[in-house]
């Protein structure tokens, strides 16, 4: 629930940005009026040109045509207001078509009636040649023009909507991905933090120097995890330093029940990796492996460079005492494993690999392979 809410928030701010950039361009209102004026002007102009090429064109007739253009603008504007007020754009096509046809027909008749009256009284019409069919044909003709207007109006809106929806879905996708990466960035386990503080408090009585050293290490880890919240990647060496601090602190808690070795290939020291990733896997190894055994155990972290399919990769191996049941391996959501997998996938796609397996029933091995990009290598 919380997640959805946050995504929606990100999404809303993204949409707002989109809208505000839209303002920089022409406003929609202006575009509408420019289209109306040019559309109707062109319509009148072309008609006049065609008529002029066939017959004589008295100025009164030109005026009647200009009057037709003006009423066209007026009544289609009125039609637009109705369309917007009744929100026809939101209706299904089945309901829009009869409405548009009826509206076009009525508007067409009204416009034609006005134009007919104008030409009748201005004397541009030859009253002797007047037949019954003529006004009917005229009205149908005008209705056709209005229908064409509606068609353009709806088409423009559909296209615009389609584009907007496409943009919205893209923004949405980006917001989701961004959010996922943020939450997937593992945070320090609070259980560890409080246990460490408890151990340190006991150490103050027992061994003050050790307590001071432990407190420094705890601050280092805390600082690192806070800084990392803002970063996409971090040099391997830095992450390993934190892992070392972390393991030293856990050793205060577990005492001789925890042993560890860390080996970093000197060539891999500066390779950029997702922050807190190794840390999370080491924490998991302790939580689900070593801390479950009354006799404790060992955890070893090793990094190396390798070449697979002609591309260089960083390989990280985390091996700890313990055993995962088939069910635990399959259903590893509680182990931060899905988290790690998902995160690697978002960052590197198919290029990164992650695996978790039992070895000889005694040890659990987590392996990560990350591509080394030229820019970061």
């Amino acid at each position: 629930m919380n997640t959805d809410f946050k995504i929606t928030q990100n999404f809303n701010t993204a949409v707002k940005k989109e809208k505000s950039t839209g303002k920089m361009k022409l406003s929609r209102k202006k575009i509408y009026w420019i289209s109306q004026l040019t559309g109707w002007s062109l319509f009148v102009l072309i008609n006049l040109l065609v008529i002029a090429s066939f017959e004589e064109l008295p100025w009164q007739r030109i005026l009647v045509w200009i009057f037709l253009g003006a009423t066209g603008i007026f009544f289609t504007h009125l039609l637009r207001r109705i369309i917007r007020k009744k929100s026809w754009l939101g209706l299904p096509l089945k309901k829009i078509i009869p409405r548009v046809i009826t509206a076009s027909f009525i508007t067409g008749i009204v416009i034609y009636a006005l134009v007919f009256a104008a030409s009748y009284f201005s004397g541009t019409m030859n009253r002797d040649e007047l037949t019954v069919g003529m006004p009917i044909a005229g009205a149908i003709n005008t209705s056709g023009v209005i229908f064409l207007w509606s068609l353009i109006y709806f088409a423009v809106h559909y296209l615009e909507n389609y584009k907007k929806k496409e943009i919205e879905s893209l923004i949405w996708e980006a917001a989701v991905k961004d959010y996922e990466l943020k939450t997937l960035k593992s945070q320090l386990n609070p259980h560890f933090m409080f246990n460490a503080m408890n151990s340190i408090r006991a150490l103050i009585e027992e061994d003050r120097e050790a307590a001071k050293a432990a407190l420094t290490k705890l601050s280092n880890i805390l600082r690192y995890s806070l800084q990392m919240e803002k970063m996409e990647s971090v040099p391997l060496e830095e992450e390993m330093e934190t892992v070392r601090n972390y393991l030293d602190l856990e050793r205060i808690r577990f005492e001789d029940r925890l042993k560890y070795t860390l080996y970093v290939d000197p060539q891999s020291e500066n390779i950029e990796i997702p922050p807190m990733m190794i840390q999370t896997l080491v924490e998991n190894g302790i939580k689900h492996g070593i801390s479950k055994r009354t006799t404790g155990g060992e955890i070893d972290v090793k990094t190396s460079l390798q070449i697979a399919n002609g591309k260089s990769q960083l390989k990280i191996e985390i091996e700890n005492s313990g055993h995962l049941s088939a069910n635990e391996l399959k259903n590893s959501s509680g182990f931060g494993i899905n988290n790690t997998k998902h995160r690697l996938n978002l960052l590197y796609g198919e290029e990164a690999k992650f695996s978790l397996k039992n070895i000889n029933g005694e040890k659990v091995l987590a392996e990560v392979e990350i591509p080394i990009h030229a820019s970061t290598g």
């Binding site: 560890f192 933090m193 009585e205």
Partner: protein, 239 residues
């Protein structure tokens, strides 16, 4: 009052022991490093109070409690177990968050000593589970400390027994025969092969087939008392 500290971390035990020294009424009689060790020491030392860490290697603090027949007063000590603590009914629980605040510890210990003073007058035989004894029950995500007097009915389900108290009916891993031997016969009566009833929850009794009886409990539950048990039942009630 005798207390046992159960925690896998030496430093955590040391720190708690140090914090407990000012309380003269409380005597730390032992320390256990895991659940198995604790079970042994609880049987051997019979503490009135245990300070119990939840996350431990091997079995957890909850696993330990589930194995105990009668659970002493428990104070959970935990670093950060929101989830585990949420499983409890709100008032049924004392817990201390590590690092432990001395003031909070003092409040908790005082409260417990106060309670035990009121109770110690009716100290019962340790082998028999009296109605004031509590058991720890875990059912899926929920946990309870249940005083036996709150349990109306025990119903056998294979190797498990279902407890009925308030609106809950969780299962515990015990056989009905085992409970029959351990439960105080003044309060709890074996009605038939499948049921033990709490006599204080009986609402009405009527004659039933074959010389048996039908007991209706206050919650509406109807339990048949077999003919053989009915004889015993009548004897008991006539006393």
């Amino acid at each position: 009052m005798k207390a046992l500290i159960v925690d896998d971390e030496r430093l955590a035990r040391t720190e708690l022991k140090r914090l407990l020294t000012p309380f003269k009424d409380l005597q730390v009689v032992g320390e256990a490093v895991n659940a198995e060790d604790a079970a042994e020491k609880i049987n051997q030392l019979r503490p009135d109070l245990i300070f119990l860490d939840i996350q431990m290697p091997g079995k957890s603090g909850f696993d330990l409690l589930e194995e105990l027949d009668s659970v002493p007063t428990v104070v959970f000590t935990t670093a950060y177990d929101e989830y585990a603590l949420k499983a409890f009914e709100y008032n049924a629980l004392d817990y201390l968050l590590k690092p432990i605040e001395p003031q909070r510890l003092e409040d908790t210990v005082k409260k417990i000593i106060e309670k035990s003073r009121k109770k110690s007058a009716v100290e019962s035989d340790k082998e028999i589970l009296a109605e004031t004894d509590q058991v720890f029950v875990k059912d899926g995500d929920r946990c309870w400390f249940v005083k036996l007097e709150r349990v109306r009915l025990f119903e056998s389900e294979g190797n498990y027994v279902r407890l009925f108290f308030e609106e809950n009916k969780p299962l515990i891993l015990r056989t009905l025969n085992y409970l029959d031997e351990r439960l105080d016969s003044k309060t709890f009566f074996r009605a038939n092969r499948k049921h033990i009833i709490n006599l204080k929850w009986i609402d009405s009794i009527e004659p039933w087939l074959n010389g048996g009886l039908l007991v209706k409990l206050k919650d509406g539950h109807k339990v048949e008392v077999s003919r053989r048990q009915a004889v015993k039942f009548k004897d008991m009630l006539s006393l």
